[in-house]
Amino acid sequence: MALLGGVAICGSILSAQQPPFGWGKNFSVPEYYDPPHQNQMKSLLAGAEAQLQADGTFLIKELKLETYRENGEREIVVMSPECVYDSARRVASSASRLQIQTGDGQFSIEGEGFLWQQTNFSLIISNHVHTTIRPESRKAEPSKS
């Protein structure tokens, strides 16, 4: 399990279960594929701070979410200075800035104010949307597991 350091949130933010602790700093929460790829990381949610809200959602500072394919290649990286993450619905939203980049660096999206639905990889950005498609890309980085 890859931990970026500091205090890890015990319990999976990515699951529907409520974590036993209300907040954490410098956390990272990995999620793995089902067998036979159980050793392959599916996603890694990391942040500088997470605070459990009254409604069961998390307020996350310095969010960084990475997803990986079954072959270990990094799929996308999502970054935002602040967002609210609903672990039950696997939905993140924020009025802050958002950056998304594919693992090969070929495609990136930026904007302000977003709704990210991880289940179906759906993203809505409400302001200042900017997409860049680069003709040359670097090879997708493998996961850390």
Partner: protein, 185 residues
């Protein structure tokens, strides 16, 4: 105006469109940049919908519109297709710097590559106007084959600019030959 004359005129306009304007292509044309007010992305299907003050630059194109739906590249680095709608204004520039300017209500761009062929087609419809050195042209549908530098216009018309009292260019649309069909591509 008889059909042979119109055909010659269209051919002349096409040559003018494709050859007369030789603005140098932007050096940083390698990236494709799309900006807008709002956007919706299906990152699995790689489909993006942009709304509000949409701007596209790159891939030999500058385009402005109010709504754009794009099929983003699954592999490779080119946008495979997009549909631009509402107040479409575009400039196409090929590798030699030849420029085409046009406007319309709807523009459909498709880029396909097979083992044997590459197709890059721009279709303009909804009051389409294409600027040429002979003046603006219009028709029902304008189809520009960028690979083969061929233009096909369904029901082509010429538009005449008339200087008004305020000395501004206004477009009136007398049909040169209503019902005319451009030659097949």
């Amino acid at each position: 105006m008889n059909r042979p004359f119109l055909t010659v005129l269209l051919a002349s306009c096409l040559v003018s469109v494709l050859n007369a304007q030789t603005n140098a292509p932007a050096a940083a044309d390698r990236n494709i940049d799309i900006s807008s007010k709002e956007g919706e992305f299906d990152l699995k299907a790689k489909v993006a919908v942009y709304r509000g003050n949409v701007r596209v630059e790159g891939q030999g194109m500058q385009l402005a519109c109010e709504a754009l739906t794009a099929k983003l590249p699954a592999t490779g680095s080119r946008v495979e297709s997009f549909v631009a709608e509402e107040k479409v204004v575009f400039d196409l520039v090929d590798e030699k710097g030849q420029k085409v300017h046009g406007t319309g209500d709807r523009l459909v761009y498709t880029y396909t590559v097979t083992e044997t062929t590459t197709n890059e087609v721009v279709e303009l419809m909804g009051n389409p106007i294409l600027e040429t050195s002979q003046g603006p042209m219009t028709g029902d549908v304008m189809r520009l084959d960028r690979i083969n530098n061929k233009l096909n216009i369904t029901n082509p018309h010429l538009l005449f600019r008339e200087a008004s009292a305020s000395n501004t260019n206004q477009i009136r649309s007398p049909n040169v030959e209503p019902g005319q069909q451009s030659p097949p591509p």
